[in-house]
Symmetry: C2
Subunit: 443 residues, 2 copies
């Protein structure tokens, strides 16, 4: 008798982060960090997967989280009745099955609310498969054969940039070093950088204080939000560079607010502060625009990806030399499978992956992807850092552990995606106690 | 006293088209054509706008239409309280206001369910403005000054391909010929082509019969769905070409099913049938892939756009010489404003616009855009045809009128978007009589 998914539960979970302007930037002035949360309930034999179910989510910033939740419900119903063992044995097929409803596909395709909802369900399936294997997702992935990894990916639209055979060859070349790299990352962790210092809603004094604290806490890199006013940004970058000194890395992030020519102008004005990367300079859909910016602002790298909705977008950013830093998002992409596709494409093009994180639980997820990338795909940590924001980790059963400026390797089985039941209940929108209690926030 | 929007009503309307395989293609095997329908209810002075309200919709193919409807509701609530006169005086500002919710924007940005919902509301606002002016939308647009047209567009991400000044100059050069072209199109209509013959679900005999009927009805061009099996497609194109003869145009449409190399292979095998355009050969997000295909399959033109989600995508398709035919969609783009942006970009690049239509009411909408393009933007009908599918027009208050192979100019005030109230009630999902009656369709 095998275990089967018997029910999908979805919960609209929101955190009232707009009350303190945590997470503010030039495009997103007052977000309420939210998760469209999915539990795949399992019945059958008594593995840990059967007991706790598969947990996954996608991230949004407030209004509209109901749409992502409803999308996850529609996609999740396609998982009901499937065998957990069969999912675990063919995670590529599982992902393709979830993406394969031709009517739901029309809402994307492979983008927007339906893709966010799909990511939540795919991620929950990976949580389930990893629990069944009694491994964290990074380890499950890192123990796969090269062929198993290649089989996770839908190659239909990717073969002009990377063939399955070339991916296989690249992965096979990394097999001999896997054990050594795994031991290394288990001992030393994976490098991180912090965005907590530089939210746009903070004043100069708070910016300076947070930069000082970042240095004291041992961070090697700091990222500032820019893009609303160039004069302000020059002043804020000057403050940050003065405090962090010449050795640490400084990055800037315009959150899509600029046109191509303006982005070049911004980089020109800020380059005196020795900027490592310029993130989301313009529309996330504009491959050719990013390529034009990248050509103009060297040696500053263009970085983007938190709004790159699928692997076809990353394929093009890489083909066009439009990005020097690839910022995959564990929930904007359609879950682990599409993230793996993007890791393969980036490694084949020699571009470092520095995942987008922060939000709700994105740090918890992307650490698995970067560690897998190091062990089995790119084989390198050079110029690679995972974003870290010190918000909301306390709500997770298996929160990230960051020591100094490094992520420690997660050890619990699964995808570190499980939110505490009491949090789910208190933050459920609109009827949880956080939202229905005496302090109301206008939406 | 001015008229104001006092309420937004949204309705999930679905037609059970999958029962007959109308609309089947290689990607979309059994669609139920649907509309996420919006009514902006108005109170105030007694204009026709106040009486009937503003009507708009977006198109989907069944499951997920509830998401698009809910997205339209969320966006539509931003319109409640606005003055109809102020909307009509600044339709650019109206569109920017609807797109400007930073939390909802996260679900896209500018793509997917939230953008489809936005399109429905923007379209309803245009219906309202046109009714207030007592003109059809094409005429409202065609009477705008060049500066008013330029002001409809959000130029933030477009200026690297076309500046507002260059657009203004192009539009001013068309002003002297407007009156003559308007008289011409009123008399002769606008050219159309039919897709009704070539749905993939039809057998060879039905294909042959429908091609013969198309010729008898006076059509100059016929489009076939391809992409599932190359052998079948060679046989079907041979049948079609034999029946329509050497003079009429034949187009093919793969509905995104192919990779870049496969698309080139398909074109190679079918070019003996003298193909005018090859539509949606691959992923709609793949600008560089379309460009590679376009370079390889000349003189066949690459056509795409029904899934191009915003003007930034059309900008790139045009910059990269990736398309020879630009197929804007009145509901996939964020409504009239973004369609106007795309018309300007296409005209500036010398690429003909042949809008996507069919579905529910897309023919009703896009005729306004093409007629405006002819009168005031490109000034040409050469190599331009509007798709025509003879489904579901009977449900509209102001249905398209096609004579021979040409669309007749719409005359009623508004955007021809209004569906009959009895249809809305019978087809409302899931409780309308069509869906809750004795004959049920499994979803």
């Amino acid at each position: 008798m095998t275990a089967r998914i018997v029910d999908v539960e979805t919960i609209d979970v929101r955190f009232p982060t707009s009350r303190s302007l945590d997470g503010s930037d030039a495009m997103n002035e007052a977000p309420d960090y939210s998760a469209a949360y999915v539990v795949l309930h399992v019945e059958g034999e008594g593995s840990s997967a059967s007991v706790s179910g598969g947990h996954g989510f996608t991230f949004t910033i407030g209004r509209g989280n109901d749409l992502a939740t409803r999308a996850a419900q529609a996609v999740g119903e396609r998982a009901v009745g499937l065998s957990v063992e069969e999912i675990a044995a063919d995670l590529g097929g599982f992902s393709r099955h979830l993406l394969g409803d031709s009517q739901l596909r029309w809402l994307g395709p492979d983008k927007g609310a339906i893709h966010l909802g799909t990511a939540a369900v795919v991620n929950a399936g990976w949580d389930l498969a990893a629990k069944l294997a009694d491994k964290p997702v990074w380890k499950l992935l890192s123990d796969f054969t090269p062929q198993q990894i290649v089989d996770l990916v839908d190659w239909r639209y990717l073969k002009d940039a990377l063939t399955p055979d070339a991916a296989l060859e690249m992965l096979e070349a990394r097999v001999p070093g896997r054990a050594g790299r795994e031991a290394h990352v288990r001992e030393h962790g994976y490098p991180a950088y912090t965005t907590s210092a530089g939210w746009l809603g903070y004043d100069d004094e708070k910016l300076a204080r947070l930069c000082r604290e970042a240095v004291e806490q041992g961070w090697d890199s700091v990222k500032l939000k820019v893009g609303a006013d160039l004069g302000d940004d020059v002043r804020r970058c000057r403050i940050a560079r003065r405090i962090i000194g010449p050795e640490r890395r400084l990055m800037i992030d315009a959150n899509q607010t600029l046109g191509v020519a303006e982005a070049v102008e911004w980089a020109e004005a800020l380059k005196e502060f020795d900027i490592w990367w310029f993130e989301e300079p313009t529309s996330p859909d504009d491959v050719l625009g990013h390529a034009a910016i990248a050509r103009s602002i060297k040696p500053i790298h263009v970085a983007t990806g938190e709004h790159a909705h699928n692997a076809v977008m990353f394929k093009q950013f890489l083909q066009a030399d439009a990005i020097g830093i690839c910022q995959i998002d564990a929930c904007r992409l359609g879950g682990v499978n599409e993230a793996v596709a993007s890791l393969l494409l980036a490694a084949a093009h020699g571009v470092p992956v520095c995942p987008h994180a922060g939000g709700v639980g994105l740090c918890e997820l992307v650490q698995h992807l970067s560690i897998f990338d190091y062990v089995a795909v790119s084989g390198s940590m050079e110029d690679r850092v995972i974003e870290y924001v010190d918000h909301l980790h306390e709500h997770f059963l298996d929160p990230v552990r960051v020591r100094g400026s490094r992520y420690m390797v997660p050890r619990a089985p699964g995808y570190s995606a499980q939110i505490r039941r009491e949090t789910l209940e208190a933050h459920r929108y609109p009827d949880g106690s956080v939202w229905s209690g005496p302090r109301q926030v206008t939406s």
